[in-house]
Symmetry: C2
Subunit: 276 residues, 2 copies
């Protein structure tokens, strides 16, 4: 069975560096969370500036009754990368996370993997950094107050990213689960943000120049209705990653300027699926 | 930064078992290579018998000038799996393998990864087992002689799988690189197969009831022309995994019964792309 000795089992090429959750946390703590968010936003902006260089394809989703598992590949001709990520809102009931993720970088010239990394933390940071980057470019100048509807783990990263990148000073929280709001408010103590908690979405959005929705509902939810959103407000609707997963009433979309990252994907999964 | 302590870094859930190349080789040596091929063929046959249970999608390919990187996801509603695999024929010039692969199994109910495994070896075994399974069902009864055109690493696995699963006793080798043929012939010594080497594809296919083509050319190669293939011969055209990667002259296809695994994929990548 000589033919089974062919793979270079002892070669350095057989080993791929792996960044686990603990090492990623150590790295982020070392850099500083807000500095990391700023750095990620800068990297994302650089990539948007060379958008045509990427081999883009809508993510490949496998849906089940309780969630979705997705692969997200891309390449710039030199590096190839993909992310594996799931979204299972009911996971929290069993003490599991809604989202877990890992990713791989590979060399396009050889197809050999070069780096494997946890991306649960990176997904949380990248989502918040992307939102704040869009906010920096699109939100009304001078906006200092942001409402966040949906106060799970992503809410805290959103708050810190908008503070670091957009100069937000006040966060107004609401979640249908008061315990989630209380936890987010407690975790954001000491962040330098003024935090207030509210009993309804309507109350939370009052006076906010930016409204962020980061819920995980798949049931064509309407987190915001038309009358709740004043003119000139910037809406940051996060996590449209499933057919049926929407947060905004269609009437809001009809009177808004809409910016999406990649229309072939967002038409299937994002808020604009309501505009078909 | 309380919010960065959320991932359960010390929980068992944060760890995913990984089967590396050395452990996979140890496992295969323990089971025995031919027994492993037979077992894999049985598992594949069971899955074909419940084909409608699978969530199927054409693999997601990222092509470059020198090769391809692909993701292959599927799910049966209970388990989700995907394979990462590259194909870079020029890699061998740099001492690298043409194909490397790894894969993941995940729980559909939670989206949590359950097993990460090397699949470089598994891909080689699965490809050969699938070929021999098809041969067992489709090849002329009593065929004992197989020609193999293309004598790279996959050639040896093909020879052993057709011996174990179809009762092939004689292997006739040809490759445009005589060194590849010599290496395959040497590695197959002691396998119990009668091995002969030949100077041309034409010479190799003489008297063969099964012809296996396993070259890695992307340039619309014509490994077999119409006159070389007699009536009733079973052709096992392996590894049509790129647009432009074909091995058979179109005239052969026109007079053959053609069996493919998954038409939406094979129409893009396989021999039948010539039939558009």
């Amino acid at each position: 069975m000589n033919n089974l000795t062919m793979p270079p089992a002892d070669s350095d090429l057989a080993y791929v560096p792996f960044v686990n959750v603990q090492n990623m946390m150590r790295l982020i703590h070392h850099v500083g969370l807000e500095a990391a968010l700023i750095g990620i936003a800068e990297a994302i902006e650089q990539d948007f500036r060379r958008w045509p260089a990427f081999d883009k394809t809508p993510r490949v989703a496998s849906h089940s009754d309780v969630g979705v598992i997705e692969l997200m590949p891309t390449s710039d001709g030199t590096l190839y990368g993909f992310k594996y990520v799931n979204g299972h809102p009911s996971n929290t009931r069993g003490g599991l996370q809604t989202v877990t993720a890992f990713g791989l970088l590979a060399d396009v010239a050889t197809g050999y993997p070069q780096l494997l990394s946890e991306m649960t933390i990176l997904t949380a940071l990248r989502t918040a950094a992307m939102s704040a980057l869009a906010g920096r470019v699109l939100a009304p100048e001078g906006a200092r107050v942001m409402a966040i509807i949906g106060n799970g783990a992503q809410c805290e990263f959103q708050a810190l990213a908008f503070k670091a990148i957009c100069g937000i000073t006040d966060i107004r929280l609401f979640d249908i689960d008061p315990a989630a709001t209380a936890k987010a408010a407690a975790n954001l103590q000491g962040s330098g943000l003024r935090i207030s908690t509210h009993d309804s979405a309507q109350a939370a959005v009052e006076g906010a120049g930016i409204i962020t929705t980061c819920t995980a509902d798949k049931q064509y939810a309407t987190i915001l209705t038309d009358n709740m959103v004043g003119a000139g407000v910037h809406l940051n609707a996060v996590g449209g990653d499933c057919p049926g997963k929407t947060e905004l009433h269609r009437d809001i979309l009809m009177r808004s300027k809409i910016f999406v990252e990649y229309p072939p994907q967002t038409r299937i999964e994002g808020e604009i699926q309501q505009l078909d």
